[in-house]
Symmetry: D2
Subunit: 349 residues, 4 copies
């Protein structure tokens, strides 16, 4: 049932790149309790898109002006990672709930500063966009585990592997990406913590190699990385990240419990078609995360809006998305993985 | 890019049952070139839903009043099957494009009367909602065939099988459903014609059995039916329809060509989760057509609107959906299957 | 446990072509209760092979001489189809148990003559080699059905489809093969009867097309055929046979029951390898029936020997393989399918 | 083609437990170039079995007596692990080729002593039974890699996981098994080295947990273990071993290369049957390694015999099985994994 306009959450989206446009459209048209009331971008072309494609949001070129808009309840940050931390703090100070794309920050200390500030605004919700939690298949797995279907879960194996990009975008991006573990594996870290009941990580080890992209070497980065993460209570995770897959974006996870196991996405099928020809029987694969997680971005937005509306004043406690604390842990573990990769030693957390 | 409101196709939806609501929401929020301008239902509860859930459509209790609305370009019929034929004719006479849920009619002569009338309105488009054509996987298969990936297609095997419903809704529905072939297989017939290049059917044979639902016997219906359809040019189709599957709604199709084959939906996976336990490794299955084809209904609506807007005045020639002529053929073949089931003889068309 | 030589079944194999060699080796080395005591072939090269590869069997160039060997308990016929019927009769008259490769005969009357003769030798066992019954997966399905896992089985869908052979061996073979239904579908017919509890067939309909091999036309044969078979008690079967598959030999079957269904070999995987590359994820397929059913031929031989030894004097009643009566029914149905293909009419049995 | 008896390799099998019996039967009946000429066991029951089931081998209760048999070319050791090293040395000193079940030894120094001795017998072949190399699917993957189908392989992920055994045989076995990595992962180590071109391992890290079997704690062992192994040249391996799977023995491996990847056994299907019921669509799983690798044991025996016969005097250089050097490396890496598990530190090799 659609809410009357006066009861809807009024949201301003900030950043209108490819992913920002998707979020904006979802919020404008597909999230019942929300109104996309404003949009912000420093780029005129993006604002022009907003004028055409969105239902008359107020447009801002400057984030501070958007924050000053008294007709906004929440901001939706789809901005460069390096801006996230300060923009979140600014939003909270302006009295806005905040959704921010991952990562919170690549720097643990900066993450901690945001958390220290956020604690002053317990009535506001702040969520970091680990969208995988809202993919229907990941959600189904989570629910099955919660229902006890695999007994006690104790091991997660999870991977984020991209189709090889000969253009090497991520090589040029390597200086600021934080490296493969902070850029890719951070999703698997969040998945592992989420599916294992948020245990505390105690030790990690990582290794990696450059299979194809020698340009990464100067940044201390790799195009294929593997890692083990030990958690308290005898829980474990194994991670694999790659930039060089031939078959597509292959994001999948497995949870092993004492009475069974679940896999999510083990064959990254593009769709329901199978092709029979002289090479055998095959399915094509999801080309990239953007297509793979199309539904997840939508469900994530709906969940954020619902949790703000259904549990006003409860802040993070009400939400199913990743809290700032979750995001801090993901960064903390990701940084430790990078440190282990570089030192060759296990890193104790 | 969103169209200015003045260029959008103004649509009135007629019938607001479960499927009507879905169509209405798609048209209201997810089809860029469309405005859901009106809605019609004889039931006050459905109109109340429309007031809440839709963006202020004009509401009508009577179909004639909706047709008289000059601010409508098209009508969208999600009404009982027995009304379709006359409502389509009325819409065309009122100068409206028309989308109508399948079937056109269960009666061949009635189908032919609608076609005879429609030929007088060549500038109006009339589409019957065989939504399977718009499922992304079926569409991918169609495109691969068109690109020659399996050589010349000559055989389709296709099935529509429902999860067993102990409540026996379809038993009560048997008096008016037209029987299993006209109710279920009609989709497979359309798929076969569509994937094989619309060849003319020449002969059919059908057989069936009652596996569980004895109540069907008085209607001459069965709960499991099989059929063969021969087309001109040596093309063939095999069909299976069932009301009694244990595992879910299992709608799948296969196309065999001279250089390969394609299957669509061979394993009707509910999602990307696999469950490992003492019984083996399994996936759950799609529970019903409504969930299975959620995307298809949306793409179908987008395609209708796009074809009206991009090819004004070209009528059926412009469309990717099923034309009235396609719907007539589906009914003609379905009726022949029923006749064969009852006579035990092959039926020549 | 190996039997003392004196208790073993002494077998003479007749025909040492590719399949005959396989049977001979299985009987010689892998069937505990058997001794391969003799071999017969009119070809010196095949006898030379026997001298090298087998453990000193007595060798015969002439079948009559082998039948006269008093030190033989059973004969194993792997000879041209046209010889089967008379050779079986001769074996029974000579007091030998007999295993014979399928088919019993392509002619119903000839099948009936063999049965009429066999009834005079109730203490001798005669089995026709429908090896699919002994494939471990088909056997597992049979056992699960017998245990009630799918409720009451009422529909079998089964196919025998070969990888396309551009050399067209089967075209040259068309004059004597009996056509695609008697050559290929006969296996599916036996599978359907076996899995459905041996119901009596009541009516069939068949259709077919020539997709690639025009040379078949003069023989009234097709390279792709489809069929429906109705059995008493509301049981049904659908068959598909093809000579033109691109991906391999794809022999698979499905059994639908009132509480579930089973498929056997739905993806004809060559082995356990999956290949991930730019075309997607794929498995290679079984190239031909000879490789696909390697195990089945062995288990078939073991079952024959065990049934003769464990149930002496009980004749066909003791066996798990196809009896002469089963083989007669398979031929009767196959002939009816061919007749339907040619007449375009349903054929009542 | 069968070899004349005088040219066959005369083999004596030592140890006639469950696996010994399988080896003995394979050698006796299914390996063309071999004669099972002798068998040795200290247990009268096992010798009685040999008298019944094998073709008249000479029987010995004492290994020294068997070694003294001048009519033997090779010995086949299926004895307790702790005896392997000395028995291999004794066999070589007696001038016999030797096949020995894995492991060579759980102790690196002892492995090295065997290698030091073996170097004195370059004309004799010594193979350790890592049978996974001879599984047809693993072999197919190896051949595809050798043919360049996945580019340069750089990462192996491999697991050996057993169905949970509530009886806890492996708990009682823990005192002498060497722990989960030396008992189970040693197979994956050999697979990784074999598929990656035998690179030298440089560093390992391992972690583990007790999910169910607390009795392992006193032995410093775990029932689930994970590990990373780095090799020279930027090659990597990840391992998983488990004693507690619900679904079956799930032995599978993946090889990632610069142009594609291969998986072997990703779904450990028991056979070709799929079951459709109210829980979804499922396949049953291989129950244990003994069934899973039935074919591998046979091919392993054939390969050993062929390599001795085809390349006399070339010793290890001729063989496709694991050499003593391979076995030493597997033990060296396995011991390092155990050390890492216990210390929590990465171990440099």
């Amino acid at each position: 049932m659609m809410k009357p306009a006066t009861e809807r959450l009024r949201i301003g989206v900030v950043g209108l790149g490819r992913l920002g446009k998707r979020h904006a459209e979802n919020l404008a048209y597909r999230v019942r309790g929300a109104t996309l009331a404003a949009a912000c971008s420093p780029l005129e072309a993006e604002l022009a898109w907003a004028r055409d494609a969105l239902p008359e949001p107020r447009l801002y070129a400057d984030y501070a002006d958007l924050l000053a808009d008294p007709q906004l309840d929440a901001v939706w940050l789809v901005t460069p990672s390096s801006l996230h931390a300060q923009q979140i703090v600014d939003a909270l100070r302006a009295g806005k709930h905040v959704f921010c794309e991952k990562p919170l920050s690549l720097d643990v200390a900066e993450c901690e500063r945001v958390l220290a500030e956020a604690v002053r605004y317990p009535h506001l919700q702040a969520t970091i966009g680990f969208m995988r939690r809202f993919d229907p298949s990941y959600r189904d797995a989570f629910d099955k585990i919660a229902a006890g279907q695999i007994g006690r879960p104790f091991l997660v194996r999870s991977q984020t592997t991209d189709k090889n990009d000969n253009d090497g975008f991520f090589v040029r991006f390597a200086a600021t990406s934080g490296g493969i573990f902070l850029d890719c594996t951070v999703h698997d870290i969040d998945v592992a913590r989420w599916l294992l009941g948020k245990p505390r990580a105690t030790r990690v080890f990582a290794a990696g190699t450059i299979a194809l992209h020698e340009g990464l070497r100067e940044f201390g980065d790799v195009d294929n990385g593997v890692a083990i993460c030990e958690f308290e209570g005898g829980k474990l995770a194994m991670f694999y990240a790659s930039r060089t897959q031939a078959h597509g974006n292959d994001t999948h996870s497995e949870v092993v419990g004492t009475a069974g196991a679940l896999t999510i996405g083990r064959n990254p099928r593009a769709n329901r078609v199978e092709i029979y020809d002289a090479t055998g029987i095959r399915n094509e694969c999801t080309p990239n995360f953007f297509d793979r997680f199309e539904d997840a971005f939508l469900h994530e937005a709906r969940a954020f809006v619902a949790s703000v509306q259904n549990a006003p004043g409860k802040g993070d406690a009400a939400q199913s998305g990743a809290t700032l604390a979750d995001a801090l842990e993901a960064t903390r573990i990701g940084v430790a993985l990078r440190e282990s990769l570089q030192s060759g030693e296990a890193v104790t957390l």
